[in-house]
């Protein structure tokens, strides 16, 4: 017999468990409660506390199980089946996401390789460029090394073209002249052999070289015995002391020979500028701190030796991380492109969201049944989110393949930086980024439709005969998404158009010379055979003569540094008869040319005369200067007849200016010309010249004949960089091409997605209102009216989006300013033209569903 107190107690316990059951997942609640009530009964109402604890643990487990891989797996399976039921839809969504994710991944791969990844040296963050815009003579090393506590080591290097001789044909190989201290700075060990030691910089002991792994395998078959072997460089025997790993690409890609800089104590000219300094900052000292210490020291130098270290120098006496120095010009475009690609991704997400949203209309029935069978709202949201995740993963997988291809397309436009040759691949790090992007995309485009669909009113849907009614709320969200898409796409297209116009302006810049039909080649004399100035004069005279005799050649000239390249020789200049205080302080560009150079290049003469063959070593030293020089140094007064001197000539020698020529763009297309001095080759012979050959036909076609003509003179002459001058111009424009081409690509995709968005939303509209349209047509509405109505709807949406996008473009145009040349970031003409075009394209896109609306068959729709 059960006593009253026991009954009351049982009731209390039951109510506790009934309360607890509310915590259990809804669809498991009854099972759970039944099981535990039986349990209490069996336990005879003893140990209630332990049972409550057990029941609670059971509830927790049920929830955990609900979100376990096992259950999600069920969701995934269901999602896959749902998606595969409509393959066309799945394909559209996957492709849309693939475009977004692919472009983002590709762009991130490049940004990661160039900007985020450390240089391939140990603790690369401690490697800094010292006085990066100043070039040094090795003697200045001592000066730069003075703030010793800030740097563990400072090394100097100078990019160098070596000519390997002794084989069947001379081979030009890039590399560098370096000081032994460069090893502790970069921290890279040879894979075979050893690095230079300090004694190798002394004359007589310096015929040693380090070679790259590639060269080692090519020339020595990867034999470790190569160390100690001989290598003929410019006819001199060098001893190979070590082999550097293939990953060591310093100072540029494809560097394969490193030989020591020789410091001859007998010469000491501070103006013999050629080396660049890099240092390893002491552990515990930041690059910024090293910079401020260097500044203090630079001030001292300036005070003690104002002649050598002018104010000009002070401005440039900085220490910056080597990486930021290397990526200086590409940093901003790359970040902006990453932002642009992010915008494209958002557009793709918005497009997908709106597709899913539109489709959720047709799934209302299914969702209502699930809800009626006990699925809670979170459960439905989860199911729909899993579906979008599956779509996103499929899109991501396709996107990675697409990205792999895109990286290959992008890479040629990225400048030659040591860190990108191997790093620009899709590796686990990039994959990690892609996974993050996929997850955020799935949430981004899945959440709104999922939330929206989970609101489905079970009674309304199951009660009505036809599911998938029209939800004004859903339509509103869909329109907002498409509007945002169009607006964002407009911003991208405006930016791309601005870059395009800027590029057109760049190509229209007067370079100061005529690059068409000019072939250029670097001709280097083997120094061991041509040590004397006279030998060089004879040699190059011969080379130029033979080139002139090649059929089709109009003119041949030479200069020692090619225009539109960063290479520079820039001494200070002094004008005869001007007090020191009034002298022009900045350095000026200094070039050696042969007399025919100006005619070959089509550089116009302003006043005076050009150089002639008579301006040889026996004649008075003469020089030609450019317009910028006359303006800056002589303040636009007559320059002809004036006497000038630079640090490149022997002390006390004055050079007479005999003529003035037009400016050429020396370093890049968008930078104005600098003051420049041209000296005749005969008065200043060098062992390597850039020869320009003007031909009547196509420049590239003359290459072989030119090469043969030079080889006739001497087989040991190395010919390198044989290319049309137009290619050099193209390369100089390359920096502007990267943002242009990529943004054009991204904005085209964005525009397409925007148009698809507008057309898509109209199509769904037409599909939903089929019956209404049929009725109206049956009642006598003209098809043209219907067509106009839908077209107007699409246009309203398009115009609203384009207008908003144009405003955004006006606002964000400022960030583009530094990338633009000759066009304002808020250029009204561009914005108006782009907006107009975009609206027209949207109209064309909207016409397709509008026409479909006008062709609805009234009989057909009314019958069903």
């Amino acid at each position: 017999v059960i006593g009253r107190p026991r009954v009351a107690r049982r009731r209390r316990v039951d109510s506790i468990f009934r309360g607890l059951s509310r915590l259990a997942p809804r669809w498991r609640r009854d099972d759970w409660l039944g099981e535990w009530l039986a349990e209490i009964e069996a336990a005879g109402a003893t140990r209630i506390a332990s049972l409550v604890f057990g029941a609670f643990a059971h509830v927790v487990w049920l929830w955990r199980h609900e979100w376990s891989i096992d259950m999600i797996g069920t969701d995934v399976r269901y999602a896959l089946r749902t998606i595969l039921r409509r393959p066309a839809f799945a394909l559209t969504v996957t492709m849309t996401i693939a475009v977004g994710i692919g472009a983002t991944t590709a762009m991130f791969t490049i940004v990661d390789a160039v900007l985020l990844r450390a240089l391939p040296f140990p603790q690369a963050d401690r490697v800094a460029a010292i006085w990066p815009r100043v070039t040094f003579s090795p003697h200045e090393l001592d000066d730069a090394q003075r703030p010793r506590d800030a740097f563990e080591a400072i090394g100097a290097y100078s990019g160098w073209g070596f000519t390997l001789t002794g084989g069947t044909a001379a081979e030009a190989i890039d590399g560098a002249r370096i000081t032994p201290q460069l090893l502790p700075v970069l921290g890279v060990q040879p894979i075979v052999g050893r690095w230079f030691d300090a004694t190798t910089v002394q004359p007589g002991r310096d015929r040693v070289a380090l070679i790259g792994e590639g060269l080692w395998r090519r020339r020595f078959g990867g034999d470790p015995a190569a160390v100690g072997g001989r290598l003929m460089i410019e006819g001199e025997a060098y001893t190979v002391v070590g082999v550097m790993p293939a990953s060591f690409e310093f100072p540029a890609r494809r560097s394969e020979i490193w030989a020591p800089i020789t410091i001859d104590p007998s010469t000491g000219d501070y103006n013999a500028n050629f080396a660049q300094l890099i240092g390893r900052v002491t552990r515990g000292v930041s690059v910024e701190a090293a910079n401020s210490r260097m500044r203090v020291y630079a001030d001292e130098l300036h005070r003690s030796r104002p002649k050598e270290f002018g104010t000009n120098f002070l401005e440039r006496a900085v220490v910056v991380p080597l990486q930021s120095q290397l990526v200086l010009t590409v940093q901003k475009p790359l970040w902006l492109l990453l932002v642009a690609v992010g915008v494209l991704l958002i557009i793709a997400c918005a497009n997908t969201a709106h597709l899913l949203l539109a489709r959720s209309g047709s799934r209302e029935g299914e969702i209502a049944i699930r809800a009626a069978l006990g699925a809670t709202r979170p459960r439905i949201i989860r199911q729909l989110l899993v579906e979008s995740l599956v779509l996103a993963i499929a899109g991501g997988a396709a996107g990675i393949l697409f990205a792999h291809w895109l990286v290959g397309v992008f890479l040629p436009f990225v400048p030659d930086l040591p860190q990108i040759s191997r790093a620009a691949v899709i590796d686990p790090r990039v994959m990690g980024f892609t996974v993050l992007v996929v997850l955020s995309c799935a949430t981004l485009f899945g959440l709104t439709p999922a939330l929206q669909a989970s609101r489905t009113d079970v009674h309304a849907v199951l009660g009505s005969s036809r599911g998938g009614g029209r939800s004004p709320r859903r339509a509103r969200i869909g329109r907002a998404l498409v509007w945002a898409e169009v607006a964002l796409a407009t911003t991208l297209v405006v930016s791309a158009a601005l870059l395009g116009r800027s590029y057109v302006h760049l190509t229209a810049v007067d370079l100061g010379f005529a690059p068409d039909r000019v072939l250029t080649l670097r001709v280097s004399a083997p120094e061991f055979r041509y040590r004397e100035d006279d030998q060089l004069r004879v040699l190059f005279d011969d080379v130029l003569q033979r080139l002139r005799r090649v059929p089709g050649v109009v003119a041949v000239g030479a200069i020692h540094l090619l225009p539109l390249t960063p290479d520079n020789w820039n001494p200070g200049v002094r004008v005869d008869g001007v007090p020191e205080a009034d002298q022009y302080q900045p350095d000026v560009n200094w070039r050696v040319v042969t007399p025919d150079y100006f005619r070959t290049m089509g550089i116009p003469t302003r006043t005076g005369r050009l150089l002639t063959d008579a301006d040889d070593q026996r004649a008075t030293p003469v020089a030609i200067v450019n317009d910028a020089f006359v303006h800056a140094v002589f303040h636009d007064r007559s320059a002809v007849g004036q006497r000038i001197r630079t640090g490149f000539e022997a002390k006390g020698t004055w050079t007479t200016v005999v003529g003035v020529v037009g400016d050429v763009r020396q370093h890049s297309v968008d930078q104005p010309s600098l003051p420049e001095i041209y000296r005749p080759f005969a008065q200043h012979p060098l062992s390597s010249l850039r020869v320009m050959v003007r031909v009547t036909g196509e420049a590239g076609a003359a290459g072989l004949a030119a090469r043969a003509a030079v080889a006739e003179v001497d087989r040991d002459i190395a010919i390198a960089d044989l290319q049309p001058l137009a290619a050099v111009v193209d390369h100089a424009l390359g920096g502007a091409k990267l943002p242009l081409i990529l943004s054009a690509l991204f904005s085209t995709a964005a525009m397409a997605l925007g148009v698809i968005g507008v057309a898509g939303i109209l199509s769904f509209d037409v599909a939903e209102r089929r019956a209404e349209i049929g009725l109206r047509l049956a009642l006598g509405a003209r098809p043209a009216e219907i067509r106009r109505q839908f077209l107007a709807r699409g246009l309203r949406l398009g115009v609203a989006g384009v207008a908003a996008g144009s405003f955004v473009a006006l606002g964000v145009g400022g960030v583009l300013r530094s990338l633009l040349f000759g066009v304002s970031p808020t250029d009204p003409a561009t914005i108006v033209a782009v907006s107009g075009t975009f609206v027209l394209v949207i109209a064309a896109g909207a016409y397709i569903p509008a026409r479909a609306a006008s062709r609805v068959d009234p009989l057909n729709t009314l019958r069903t």
Binding site: E41, A42, F53, G54, A55, A57, H58, W61, D70, R81
Partner: protein
């Protein structure tokens, strides 16, 4: 070949393989003890708790896990039977063949349980 059917088959195969991979994990002591109790004829929660000495906080989640892994199955007692016994209907658990195999594989890891009557276990396969 119907592509839709093929893709369904593919999805299901993947699912089954994944489930198998999940199931391949070693069973914990509590799971083996519960399988063992079931093998010895203890069929519902309280009974299992009493025979294994595990707490209810362990037994129920583990039963859930074993059920979702396909090692045990459960069924509600018929209401008539329960009414006759004047108690709420019980949920009875039963070993499935996969559970018996898993128990046999795991028993030698938990020697303490090895006093189980042999007849309840499937015969070990001979090579």
């Amino acid at each position: 070949v119907d592509p839709a059917a093929a893709s369904y088959l593919y999805c299901d195969m993947t699912y089954v393989v994944l489930r198998l991979l999940i199931m391949r994990r070693r069973l914990a002591y509590s799971a083996v003890a519960i399988l063992h109790a079931l093998a010895n004829g203890h069929r519902h929660g309280f009974d299992i708790i009493a025979s294994t000495g595990l707490t209810s906080a362990t037994v129920y989640p583990t039963l859930g896990k074993l059920e979702s892994a396909g090692f045990v199955s459960s069924a509600w007692e018929l209401p008539n039977t329960a009414q006759k016994a004047k108690r709420p209907p019980r949920r009875y658990y039963e070993l499935r063949p996969a559970g018996k195999r898993a128990l046999a594989e795991s028993l030698d890891r938990f020697r303490v349980l090895q006093s189980v009557p042999r007849r309840l276990l499937p015969k070990p396969e001979r090579p």
